[in-house]
Symmetry: C2
Subunit: 420 residues, 2 copies
């Protein structure tokens, strides 16, 4: 097989383990030096390809690449940028091909979520639509766990472990304060449309008699009166109440409880502040003293409390993407398949067609949410629990988690500048 | 020495390691069974003493007591309740003596911060003022690190490690997003009057060119224009800006940036929301896309990322309190003395008179804050760094930190009820 080069980039919101996937891709490419030439990383996702802003990964030491496995964030820079259709933006695709040709890139690995899968799918069609021979493989990543086909998404297990751990810890805090102080604690978590992360908070306790006592999902319309009745009963029963609420919590008419009024590049509303909003309502309706927390980036960056299962899956999907490329595949994504539950939990990797991934969001199944809408079911617990198993603490230096510090050497540009 | 019983209680906001101090007290008492009889824990702090709501600690297994060392929150319940002066509330002191007599309590261990030290001091004076022979020893605890005399306060080192770790992790996240998305990330941390926790955020980087680029202290009056100029320059220099802000950040006239308008039982204003307030200002003045997080209870409950140094000091001060009591001391607190810096960091425990602890707050020395007011000095880094050294991960069961589940058996009441 003649040697050609490969491109790898990270896209969308980053996670605690997206670099573990990068590590998997890079180490697999290094092992197949006879089949793949150089690996170029796009600086800031697909934008790096469009602007010919490429990083020469071959200049990074094996140690630094290994350290990516325990480094949160996106080491090569990510982006919130979605390619339009070929009809609407032909010049962008022509530019991509120009850059790929200039650097002899025939393998395209794109590491992201649903929106990024769409970009990857469009690139995968370049052979057919524009005659450039490229194989595009998508590497799954999203804390939201909303990718279809795959049993779960790399990145989710670690945020789930962080939220469950934090909820358990904060629950013990408020339990000790409630006699004379805080009665209600509200933790806001990510998950714009799907309540997977909120659901993971429920792993902190054995059932709804332990924190969190209430989970507010984006899938269930919020009714203030029902919620307050539940909070009040909980304070009466236990002396305090811990609530995990999804940033995407919304009313019957679809309005978000807290809407910051901004939109990101994909046109999604930028949310934030449902915890203080809910806390204010609690104060108003019930008069209880409250505390609230918004974990925001802390939750998806918390590599120090990553799930070992998640780290292994992130790494394995990265490797599998390279193996699929070498097997001649195109427009596919390595997906995780569950082979057992509970103590028998096991998984392997299967091939998922990108057409079934791109732009499809996987919501919480209704049977994962309790009948009253405020908690998870046993089926949900059974699904979630294996995903937070195992610890994979990073090495610590001087009291802090050590992280990879890449050199990020740029590849010399061969083309004229291109503005996006 | 004739055997008498002891009382232990937890007071004020709890920490990740206050139970490690409890563990130290209890294990030391158990080792001195020839000198101290039973140990009763007050349920919810001093309120447990006043209402004769006592927990029989002797009924807890050694395993459960050992597990307190890795359990956050206050296992016996804490309180925000301060005794008034003997002149103002003589009946409360008479009640305390009644309870102490009924249960033959002659040792009083109170585990808390500055306000609680005041309560402990008042109890210590009962022998002199009301003729009841009691020895009261205060066990230091506060995430705010604002106790005088002691080099640092147990509880602080762990929140410092959590905030520094989280800031480093979130800093990597935003660094990878900033090209097309978030430019400014603001993390709000605790510290009502003293900026110790905010300062600890700066340990995340080597200097102000790494996250966090800006620290906002309560000790430095906030000037919006100066702050915005600094944020803007940082975004221009690095592409993004990470800010750690103390909940106590305030304007020149003393007004807090975010004032929720509530007060706690000690008359302190309940704060929260400076991060969203600052973020809104950034949007308004500079137009940058932002994210913000409020760690709230998560930071002080984060036992999973506790500082080993902190855990050891918390445990040691608990033990030392018992030893001081057995040496006949009264109205003292075991304080941590620093014996060296950097690689030579070492500490031991000395005796501090409670009169010099109660109601004294230790602020950041001015030489710990950089001249421009937005960062820490090398002297501050040298002070803080040893306090976050070492990891002491709790055992994990089923993917989550294991915690002590005490039986909390109540002692039979001998007296008539007393309402507070």
């Amino acid at each position: 097989m003649p040697q050609h080069n490969a491109f790898y980039a990270q896209s969308g919101g980053v996670t605690a383990v997206i670099n573990a996937s990068a590590c998997g891709v890079i180490e697999a490419v290094r092992e197949h030096g006879d089949q793949i030439g150089k690996l170029y990383a796009g600086h800031n996702g697909i934008i790096g390809a469009l602007t010919e802003d490429l990083i020469d990964v071959s200049q990074e030491s094996d140690e630094n690449i290994a350290a990516l496995r325990h480094t949160p964030g996106g080491a090569f820079g990510s982006c919130r940028y979605k390619l339009k259709s070929i009809e609407d933006h032909r010049t962008q695709y022509e530019r991509l091909i120009e850059v790929f040709k200039a650097h002899d890139i025939r393998y395209f690995f794109y590491n992201g979520g649903g929106d990024s899968a769409d970009t990857c799918l469009k690139v995968s069609q370049l052979a057919e639509t524009m005659g450039y021979p490229i194989q595009a493989i998508h590497v799954p990543k999203t804390v939201d766990n909303d990718l279809p086909i795959t049993d779960n998404s790399p990145g989710f297990g670690s945020v789930a472990k962080y939220i469950a751990t934090s909820t358990r810890e904060a629950g013990l805090d408020i339990a000790s304060m409630c006699a004379t102080s805080t009665k209600v604690f509200i933790l806001e978590v990510m998950g714009r449309h799907a309540g997977w992360i909120a659901a993971a908070g429920a792993l902190a306790g054995e059932d709804a008699t332990q924190p969190p006592h209430i989970v507010v999902f984006p899938e269930v319309a919020f009714h203030r009166k029902d919620f307050m009745a539940r909070v009040d009963q909980c304070v009466k029963d236990h002396g305090y109440c811990v609530v995990v609420v999804s940033e995407g919590a919304r009313y019957e008419d679809g309005t978000f409880l807290a809407d910051a009024g901004n939109t990101d590049a994909f046109g999604h509303r930028q949310l934030g502040g449902v915890a203080p909003t809910l806390a204010g309502m609690v104060k108003q309706d019930l008069g209880y003293k409250y505390h609230w927390a918004v974990a925001d980036y802390l939750q998806r960056a918390a590599r120090h409390i990553a799930s070992k299962t998640d780290v292994e899956q992130a790494y394995a999907t990265g490797r599998a993407a390279v193996e699929m490329a070498l097997a001649g595949k195109n427009a596919v994504m390595p997906a995780i398949r569950r082979l057992g539950d509970g103590a028998d939990y096991a998984w392997d990797i299967i091939e998922a067609p990108l057409e079934q991934i791109a732009n499809h969001e996987k919501f919480m199944p209704l049977e994962f949410i309790s009948e009253d809408g405020f908690y998870i079911t046993d089926a949900c617990r059974q699904y979630l629990s294996p995903l937070i198993q195992g610890e994979d603490f990073p090495p610590f230096v001087n009291g802090l988690p050590a992280v990879a510090r890449l050199t990020l050497a740029k590849v010399e540009k061969k083309l004229t500048p291109f503005s996006i």
